[in-house]
C-alpha cells in the first residue's frame, strides 16, 4: 500500500489505523544530554552579525542553508544527517524544573512523578533478551520512570567506558553460584512462612541482576576492546567514551541510552567555556553519528541533542549568558528523521520567528518515531491518567 506523506503520518498518529501502518523506523534512542543549558548562540544558532552574537563566528555545514558555531567543525561535516530545530520554546528557567520538563515532557508537580521518555520506552519496547536493561544512563542520574515503576527506570553508570559497578561477584564464580542456591532456599522458606508476595517480586529483581552479571553482552559497557583510532575520533573524554558505549549498547539491543555532558551553565565567561565544552562534545557527537551510519544503525537509532534551555542572547556583565527558555535549539539525527533546518529566531536570537515548538511536541516527535503513541495514557498512582506527552504534536517537518 502506498500512502502520501501526510496520509502516512496521519495514519501513524491515529490509533485505529495502527495495524495498517509501516513499522516505526527507530528501534532505539540516544539522548545526548547537555546539562546546564547550552547557549543556542554558541552552538546551533550563532548570530555573527549581531551585537548579541559576541565573538562567536559561524561556519557553513554540509546542510545547505545551515550555519553553526565555528567551534563545531566535526558536526558541520555531517550536518546533512541532522534536523536542527531553532524554534524551541519553554517556560521553565530553573535547572531542576527544566531538566524534569525536558526528560518527561511535563512541568514538575509534587502529586505525580511523570515517567521520563526513557521510562516509557523501557515499558513499551521492553528490555533485550540478553540480560541488558532497556534504559541506561551514562554520566548522570537521568530521570526515572515515575509511576511506571523503578523496573523501567535507568540503569546508571557514573563513568562510562568500564564495567558497571558491582557486576562482578566479590567472591569466585563457584562460590557465588553456591551462595545463590543457599539464598534461594532461604527465600523459598520465608515466602512460605510470611505469605508476602514481596519475596517473589524481590527474587525477580535479583534474577534480573544475575542475568546482567552473566550477560554475554556485558562487554558492551566496556570500551577497552575498541581500536585506538575509534577512541581518538570520539575523544579521550568521559562524554566521548559515553558515546562509544551508547553505540555499543544500542548494537546490543538497549533501547534508550542517555549520555550526559555537564558544565553548560555559563553565567560567567561563556565564550571560553562553551568552546571547551564543544571541544569535547563536537567530535564525539559527529563520531557517534558517523559510526552509527557506517554500521547501518543510524536509520534505526534516533539521536537527540538537547539541554535544559538556551541562554540569554544579551551578554551579561560577566561575559556570560543566563538562562533563556524562551528560545533555544535542539538537533536530531537518525531514526527516520528528515534532515533539514526547522524554524528560526530573529536577528538577535531573542524571539522565535514563525512557528514555535514546545517540549511536548519534541517528545511527541520522538515517541512517534519510536512507534509509541504520544497520547496513550497510563494510570498514575493517584488515579489520574497521564499520557506520554502533555498534548504534544509531532513536528511534521522532522518526520
Amino acid at each position: 500500500m502506498i500512502y502520501g506523506a501526510a496520509g502516512f503520518f496521519g495514519a501513524l498518529l491515529s490509533r485505529r489505523a495502527r495495524a495498517d501502518v509501516a513499522p516505526p523506523k527507530a528501534k532505539a534512542m540516544i539522548l545526548l544530554w547537555m546539562n546546564g543549558g547550552p547557549s543556542h548562540l554558541e552552538t546551533w544558532d550563532p548570530k555573527p552579525g549581531h551585537l548579541n552574537g559576541g565573538p562567536t563566528k559561524a561556519i557553513r555545514t554540509a546542510l545547505p542553508g545551515l550555519s553553526i558555531s565555528e567551534h563545531m567543525p566535526h558536526v558541520a561535516q555531517i550536518a546533512n544527517k541532522l534536523a536542527v530545530v531553532r524554534a524551541m520554546s519553554s517556560k521553565e528557567g530553573n535547572h531542576q524544573r527544566a531538566q524534569y520538563l525536558m526528560h518527561t515532557g511535563y512541568a514538575p508537580t509534587p502529586t505525580v512523578v511523570h515517567p521520563s521518555l526513557g521510562g516509557w520506552v523501557s515499558k513499551k519496547l521492553g528490555a533485550p533478551h540478553n540480560g541488558l536493561p532497556a534504559f541506561v544512563s551514562l554520566g548522570g542520574p537521568s530521570f526515572g520512570a515515575g509511576f511506571l515503576g523503578v523496573g523501567n527506570g535507568p540503569f546508571v553508570v557514573q563513568r562510562a567506558g568500564a564495567q558497571p559497578d558491582n557486576v562482578s561477584p566479590a567472591t569466585g564464580t563457584d562460590r557465588f553460584a553456591r551462595r545463590q542456591e543457599l539464598l534461594a532456599q532461604a527465600e523459598q522458606r520465608f515466602a512460605r512462612e510470611s505469605g508476602s508476595p514481596m519475596v517473589d517480586d524481590r527474587r525477580a529483581v535479583f534474577a534480573r541482576a544475575v542475568s546482567l552479571m552473566g550477560s554475554r553482552d556485558l562487554g558492551a559497557f566496556d570500551v577497552s576492546q575498541e581500536p585506538e583510532s575509534v577512541k581518538k575520533d570520539y575523544g579521550d573524554t568521559d562524554f566521548g567514551r559515553g558515546c562509544i558505549v551508547a553505540r555499543r549498547l544500542v548494537s546490543a539491543g538497549v533501547r534508550f541510552v542517555e549520555v550526559v555532558q555537564d558544565g553548560w551553565d555559563t553565567h560567567q565567561n561563556n565564550f571560553d567555556r562553551t568552546k571547551k565544552q564543544l571541544d569535547i562534545v563536537d567530535p564525539a557527537t559527529a563520531a557517534l553519528i558517523k559510526d552509527l551510519d557506517q554500521r547501518g544503525l543510524l536509520a534505526s537509532t534516533l539521536v537527540v541533542w538537547l539541554g535544559d534551555f538556551g541562554r540569554t542572547p544579551r551578554i551579561n556583565g560577566n561575559d556570560g549568558r543566563d538562562h533563556y527558555p524562551q528560545a533555544w535549539s535542539c538537533a536530531m539525527a537518525g531514526g527516520g528523521i528528515k534532515p533539514g533546518l526547522v524554524g528560526a529566531t530573529d536577528a538577535g536570537g531573542e524571539k522565535i520567528v514563525g512557528q514555535t515548538y514546545g517540549v511536548p511536541d519534541l517528545l511527541a516527535t520522538c515517541a512517534t518515531l519510536l512507534g509509541l503513541d504520544p497520547h496513550e495514557e497510563a494510570m498514575s498512582q493517584v488515579g489520574r491518567p497521564i499520557a506520554v506527552t502533555d498534548g504534544g504534536q509531532p513536528i511534521t517537518a522532522v518526520l
Binding site: G151, T171, R175, F190, M198, R384
Partner: protein
C-alpha cells in the same frame, strides 16, 4: 461560609465521626487554647480504644484479623519503625526471656527514650524535607543536627513545624563540607555566630516559593494544592487564585549570601523576612501573579503582619495539621494511612476507618501534638501486632511488609555485621566519614516513596547488585577481627551456637529446627576453598573501595562457610523487609 472554608469544611466532614461536635476550621485563638487545656477536655484515647474501633470496623466489613506475631517479630518491627535499626542480639534474647506481661509497653517506652529515636527521626525528616537537594548553600548536616535536637528534647510537633516554616538566621558555619555529624556538631558549637540548621529547609526553596508553598501544604497539611498552581484543580475545588493567595505568604523570605562564588564547600547565607514580596520574584513572569495576591490561608483567613509567621501559626493550628501527622504516622507503622497516599487529604479521597482517624487526630492535637504519645498508642495497638499473610490486607487486618528505607537498611547491615567495629580495629579509617558517604550512596540508590501503599516490591538492578556484590555486604560478611562473623568463628562455640549467633544478629530471632539442621550440616562439611580470585575492579563511587583491599579472603573452609551464611542472611528478604 466563604468558598475557601467550604472546601476545608468538606475535607473535615469526611473525617467527622458520629457524634463529633468539632467545628470546621477553627482559627487559633486564646479561647481555643484555653479550651484545650481544660480538665474536662475529651478523655485520653488509648491503644485499647484503637482496638475497639478497629474491631468494630472489621466486624462491619466481615474481615477477621490475622494471628498475632511472636515476640521476636514484634521486637524487630518496633525497633525498625521507632529507632530505624534492628535490635542487637542481647536485646533479642533478653526480650524473649522477659516474662513480664507489659514488656511490649516497656520496650516502646525504652525505644522512645533512647538517643537512637532522635537520630532516626532526624534522618527521616531530613530526607523527607530535602530529598536530593544538595546545592551550594545547603548544609544538610546542620539541618539534621537541628532536627535531632528537637526530637531529643521531645519538642511538640507543632512547634517543630512552626520553627521550620518561619526559620531565619544563618544556615551554616560554611567552609569545607563536614564529613560526619560529629565534625559538623563540633564546628557549630565553636561558631561565634549562632547557626540555625532549620534555615537549610528554607534555602531549598529560595528560588521557588511556589514549590515551597505546595510542598509545605502537602507535607504538613496533607493538602496537595500545587495542582492548582497552573490551572484550576482538575478534580477538587481549588482554584489557581486560592493557590496564589496561599503561596503569597512564602514570597517574602530574603536570602542574603554571605560568601561569594565558591568552587567547593558550603556557602553561608542569612535568611530574613522583608515586608513585601522579593523584588526578584516580582520580575519573574510566573511569580508576579503570586506576589500581587493577598496573602491568605487555605480557609480564607487573611495573613497579616509578618505573613510567614502568620502562615506558620495558621498551619500548625489547623485541624488538617493533626490529621496529616496522624495519617503519616499510622501509614509509617501500619503500611497504609487512613488516607492513601497519606499526604493527599481531600473529599474525593475519603479515609478508611474515619472514626478512628478522627479520634487519633483529636487526641494528638489535645495533647500538644506529642509524637511520642501518638507513636506509643499506635505501636501498642492490636493491629500493629498482627502477622503478614497472603491476600490483600483489608483495614489493616493483616500486617503489610515493606522494604527497609535506605537509612534503616544501611544501619541494619552495619549493626548486624559489626563492620564499623571491624573497620575501627583496622585503624586508618574514619568510620564516621565512611558511614556518611554510605548514607548518601544508599539514600540515592535505595530511595523509597513511603506515602503510597505499595503492595509489590520495587527494586532496581543497581540495588540488587549492591546487595549481591557490593563491598559493604561483602565486608560485613567477612571474618574481619571484631566483626559478627569473626566472633561467631571463635573456637569455643559449637556450630549450633554459631548459627544461632548470626541469626540473632541479623534476623533478630533464633533459627528454627530445620534451619539449624541444614546450616550445621553445611558448617560440618564446608565446600573446599577455591583458588584466590582476581580482585574485581574498584567501584569508583564505593566509599569502601579502599577498605576492600584490606579484606583478605579466608583460607579456612569453615570460616568461609560462616561467611556464606552471613551473606545469605544479609541478602534475604527476611532481613531487607520490615515484616
Amino acid at each position: 461560609m466563604t468558598r475557601f472554608s467550604a472546601i476545608l469544611a468538606a475535607t473535615l466532614v469526611t473525617a467527622a465521626a458520629v457524634g463529633c461536635t468539632h467545628d470546621a476550621a477553627p482559627v487559633r485563638t486564646a479561647a481555643n487554647d484555653a479550651a484545650r487545656a481544660k480538665p474536662n477536655a475529651p478523655r485520653d484515647f488509648s491503644s485499647a480504644d484503637v482496638d475497639v474501633l478497629l474491631k468494630k470496623a472489621w466486624a462491619e466489613k466481615g474481615v477477621s484479623p490475622s494471628a498475632p506475631v511472636d515476640d521476636a517479630t514484634f521486637l524487630r518491627r518496633a525497633w525498625v519503625d521507632i529507632v530505624g535499626t534492628i535490635p542487637p542480639a542481647d536485646d533479642v534474647t533478653k526480650f524473649l526471656a522477659d516474662a513480664s506481661p507489659n514488656k511490649r509497653a516497656q520496650l516502646v517506652d525504652a525505644l522512645l527514650a533512647s538517643p537512637a529515636y532522635a537520630e532516626h527521626w532526624a534522618d527521616y525528616w531530613e530526607d523527607e524535607l530535602m530529598g536530593q537537594a544538595r546545592q551550594g548553600d545547603i548544609d544538610r548536616l546542620a539541618l539534621r543536627l537541628w532536627l535531632r535536637d528537637q526530637f531529643a528534647k521531645s519538642v511538640a510537633w507543632d512547634k517543630i513545624v512552626y520553627a521550620l516554616v518561619t526559620a531565619s538566621g544563618q544556615n551554616s558555619v560554611g567552609g569545607e563540607r563536614a564529613k560526619s555529624m560529629g565534625e559538623a556538631e563540633r564546628a557549630i558549637a565553636k561558631s561565634d555566630t549562632p547557626i540555625n540548621g532549620a534555615v537549610n529547609y528554607v534555602l531549598k526553596y529560595r528560588d521557588t516559593p511556589q514549590d515551597w508553598a505546595g510542598s509545605a501544604s502537602k507535607t504538613f497539611l496533607g493538602v496537595q494544592i500545587q495542582c492548582a498552581q497552573c490551572h484550576d484543580h482538575k478534580t477538587e475545588k481549588w482554584k489557581k487564585d486560592d493557590f496564589q493567595k496561599f503561596a503569597a505568604s512564602f514570597m517574602r523570605a530574603q536570602t542574603l549570601p554571605l560568601d561569594g562564588p565558591m568552587m567547593k564547600g558550603i556557602k553561608r547565607a542569612l535568611v530574613r523576612d522583608i515586608d513585601r514580596p522579593l523584588p526578584r520574584f516580582m520580575r519573574d513572569m510566573d511569580l508576579q501573579a503570586i506576589g500581587r495576591a493577598t496573602p491568605t490561608a487555605l480557609d480564607g483567613t487573611p495573613m497579616t503582619g509578618n505573613v510567614r509567621d502568620a502562615v506558620g501559626q495558621w498551619m500548625t493550628a489547623s485541624p488538617l495539621f493533626a490529621r496529616a501527622a496522624v495519617n503519616r504516622m499510622w501509614g509509617h507503622f501500619l503500611g497504609r494511612g487512613f488516607v492513601d497516599p497519606f499526604d493527599d487529604l481531600r473529599p474525593s479521597n475519603p479515609a478508611e476507618a474515619p472514626e478512628l482517624e478522627d479520634a487519633l487526630s483529636k487526641d494528638f492535637a489535645s495533647h500538644h501534638y506529642d509524637l511520642k504519645r501518638l507513636i506509643k498508642t499506635i505501636a501498642l495497638s492490636q493491629a500493629y501486632g498482627l502477622s503478614t499473610g497472603a491476600g490483600t490486607p483489608v483495614l489493616w487486618s493483616k500486617f503489610r511488609a515493606s522494604p527497609l528505607g535506605p537509612n534503616e537498611l544501611l544501619d541494619a547491615v552495619i549493626d548486624a555485621t559489626g563492620v564499623d567495629d571491624a573497620l575501627r580495629r583496622l585503624g586508618r579509617f574514619n568510620v564516621e566519614e565512611i558511614t556518611e558517604k554510605l548514607r548518601t550512596l544508599y539514600g540515592f540508590v535505595f530511595d523509597v516513596d513511603e506515602e503510597f501503599d505499595r503492595p509489590t516490591f520495587e527494586g532496581t538492578i543497581t540495588q540488587a547488585l549492591i546487595q549481591l556484590n557490593g563491598r559493604l555486604v561483602a565486608g560485613g560478611s567477612a571474618a574481619l577481627p571484631g566483626s559478627a562473623v569473626a566472633n561467631a568463628a571463635r573456637a569455643d562455640l559449637t556450630d549450633a551456637q554459631r548459627v544461632e549467633a548470626l541469626y540473632l544478629r541479623t534476623l533478630s530471632r533464633r533459627p528454627a529446627k530445620d534451619e539449624l539442621d541444614s546450616w550445621t550440616k553445611y558448617l560440618a562439611h564446608p565446600p573446599p576453598i577455591a583458588d584466590p580470585i582476581a580482585k574485581a575492579p574498584r567501584a569508583k563511587n564505593d566509599p569502601l573501595a579502599r577498605v576492600a583491599e584490606k579484606i583478605p579472603e579466608t583460607r579456612d573452609p569453615k570460616v568461609a562457610a560462616l561467611e556464606d551464611l552471613m551473606w545469605t542472611l544479609l541478602n534475604s528478604s527476611e532481613f531487607v523487609l520490615n515484616h
